[in-house]
Every structure is written in C-alpha cells, then in structure tokens.
C-alpha cells in the first residue's frame, strides 16, 4: 500500500441501504452489505494461511448489516456485524480498490477481467 493511499473522510451510516465511503481524493465508494460481509478477510472466514477458503454465501442473510464501524489506525475499518462477528479488518486498499462497486470501478474491473 502506498503511503499516499487515500483515506476515508466520511463513512456512511450503518442504516444506509449500502455501505458508502467518501475518500480523501474525492472518490465515492459503495458496496452492498452482503458483499462486504462475504469479503471478510479474517482468519475465521479466510483460513489462517489464506488457503482459498471463502465464506459460503448461503450462510449469510440477505439483510446482513453491521451495528458499528470503527477506524483502525491509519489503514483499516473494522465492522461489528449484527451477529457480533468483528474480527475482520478491511484495509483501505481493499475497500477502495477491490470491493468498491461504484459504476466506474465495476466497469474498470470487468474490462480487466475481459482482457
């Protein structure tokens, strides 16, 4: 991660329809709560050695949402989900470049995948 990594200047409400972040470079990210939960990077969800384990989508409710989102240092956000799961630290890099579902980022990702 570059030190000039953008940081969130505003994190949307946990009661919003989707997860929203406004970044220090002006970009606005959005991501569905379910996609965010499925992407949880913690060892419980991913395996301790990043062995390719993923979260089974059928194990997560469609209306999953966090109760709280906290900032961790200068690099990540930590949601506490409705069931108390809170071990995932979502790095700013991940939120900005891997999970963002805004029109622009989605288009850029599908263009990369097509190549």
């Amino acid at each position: 991660m570059s030190p000039r990594m953008p940081t969130p200047v505003e994190v949307g409400s946990i009661v919003g329809k989707t997860f929203r972040i406004t970044w220090s470079d002006g970009h606005r990210s959005t991501c569905s709560w379910k996609a965010l939960r499925l992407a949880c990077p913690c060892a419980h969800c991913r395996g301790e050695w990043a062995d390719g384990r993923t979260v089974d989508p059928s194990s997560i409710r469609e209306d999953v949402h966090p109760m709280r989102i906290e900032r961790v240092g200068a690099y990540a956000l930590q949601p506490t989900w409705w069931d108390g799961h809170n071990t995932g630290l979502y790095t700013f890099h991940m939120l900005r470049f891997e999970l963002c579902e805004c029109v622009e980022c989605t288009a850029a990702r599908s263009a990369r995948a097509a190549r």
Binding site: M1, P3, M5, T7, V72, G73, A74, Y75, A76
Partner: protein, 368 residues
Amino acid sequence: MSPEPKVSREQVLDALRGVEDPELHKSIVDLDMVKDIQITDGRVNVTALLTISACPLRETIVTSIRDRVRSLPGVGEVDVTLGVMDPQERQALITKLRGGAASPTRRSSFLTPESPVRVITIASGKGGVGKSTVTVNLAIALTQMGHKVGIIDADVYGFSIPRMLGMRGRPTMIDQMVVPLEKHGIRVMSIGFMLPDETDAVVWRGPMLHKALTTFINEVHWGDDLDYLLLDLPPGTGDVSITIAQTLPQTHMVIVTTPQAAAVSVAQRAARMADKVNIEVMGIIENMSYFQAAPDQPPIYIFGRGGGQRLAEVQGVPLLGEIPLDPAIREGGDEGTPITLSAPDSPVAKAFRTTADKLIRRLPVPVA
C-alpha cells in the same frame, strides 16, 4: 511616614498565576488549586490544594508560591497551607486538562487524525542497532531547537530510555490520569517507571503489552503544548508494532539501521510493515556508520558502508543521517546524559542535530 501600601487579594491571585504546577505545566490558578487567600496586616496566607497528597513536588510548589507572593509590595510574611483535592475536584481537574466540560472523555489529542502533534515511531528490523540511543539524542536535539518533545518507550521488554536519560521514579497518578516524568525538558513514559526496580523483567504475553501501550497513549497527560512525540518501538514487527499501527490514526516512521547488508535486509521488513498499515516512512537513519579515531584520521567502516543509503534508495525515501560510532555515545547512555547534551559540539552531536533538522523539515509543526 507614608502608610505601607496594602496588598489586595486580586494582586495575590495575579501573582499566583505565575506559579505553575511542575508536573501539569499550567498555572495553579487555572488548575483551581488556589482555594483561599487571607490577608491580615501584610501577612498573607495562601491555601493551595494538591492533586494528590503524595505529590512529590509539594516543596517546589510551596517555595514558588512563597517567592511570588513575597515579591509583592506590602507583603510581610507568607504562609502556605496545603490541602488535597477531593475526588470531585480531581475529576473536574482531569476534565479540564482533557479539553473542557464538553468532552470529558476526549482522548489524547494525537488520537484524532487532525492532531497537530507529530508522532514519529522509531523502528528497526533487527535489535541492537541503537534505536533507543537515536531516540533520546533526537529528542534532545529537537528540544535544543525549541520544540516540546515527549517519548513513549514502547520497547516494553527491552526498555532502556529511563537509564539513557538518567531517570528514576514513578509517574504521578491523578485518579486514572498518568503524568509523565520529565528530564532535560523531555516528557517520558516507560514501563520501567512502573516496575519495582530497573532489573525487573517484563514477562508478558501480547494482550498485556497491548494494554500497557494503550494506557501510555490514552491515559497519559502529555500536555497540550507537545510538538513531537517520539515512540521507541521494539525491534521487528510484533505485537507492539501492531498495537501502535492500530491505535494511532496518524503517525510517521523513521527506520534505524546499521550499514551491514544483514541489518539492511531485515530493516526492509519494518518498511514493508509500514506500507501495509499505511504509515509513511519519513526516512532512514544509519547508525554506527563509521569510526574515526581522530579528526585527521580516515574513517573506518566497521560495519561496511552504504547500507543506509541503499535502503533509502530502495524505499524511495531520504537518508536522514549517518551517525558515527563513538565510545562517548555509549558512555552518555550509561550515565544518563546523552551526548547531544553533554558534548553538543562533538561530531556525533552535530550528526544528531543535522538528522533532527532534516526530519523536521519533512515534518514541520503546523502553524496554528
């Protein structure tokens, strides 16, 4: 004969504004420590409240109250009566120190991303490169430049800052607030102050380390006039480093290495960690760069040459300084008077000052 001028309560109170609490660095009037002033025929009695009854600096307070008041015209004798704050008064004081009634739970100012305090973590890959030596000498150099500096000795197992600065004693606790100890104008917090004696070992697992560190950051009253807070990390990328990365919303890192390749390649991992947790590396300091027996002798590169420069190039950051080897550095550390203070004109002290200067050019204190 003209009548002696009468001194008023207001004049006494005004004089007392100049008396600072030696630990909290604020006027005792502003701290609501002056409880009562009685004046009878030029004899003044001041009743002052200490924060805790065991206040180690009570004599200092009494003396400065007496001196200030006695210098007023028309004052004969000065009596000082000391009392102790009750729990409510202490809570009110803590609330005041933490930034006012509106936010009694407000945390240390450097826990907000907008904090004006420049927090600099001093890191290394491997141990024994002289991180703590660099930390104390940089702190002295910054103080000499007129900055207010604090040090958190985060090397919980291998703490050495208290010895290097010749510090002893226990920090004052005002309820849950810890007042750091001070020496050479530098405010310091170290796990060493909490142990029965210096040789005691800290045998703790991660969660205890985490608690100690977050206490140093959250509960210690660093003062609102701090410019730079230096954080001496333990070597490597373990528990303490992670706690720091997860607790401080804004911090910068300086990496200390020695010139040899073995040290440089490990130091690179500290830089890698900084990348992962979005901490900007401000530069590299190469310690033990060379030894020069006398000014007219050629330098001897005991640990090889150019490691710091190479690391700086790989990381794309500046080399902030090359500190030569000198037995006087070690002696200064052992005796508690860092060389930058005891021999300010020595080449080593100059090297530390140049380094500090380069560092703060990259990280100036914001102008209010």
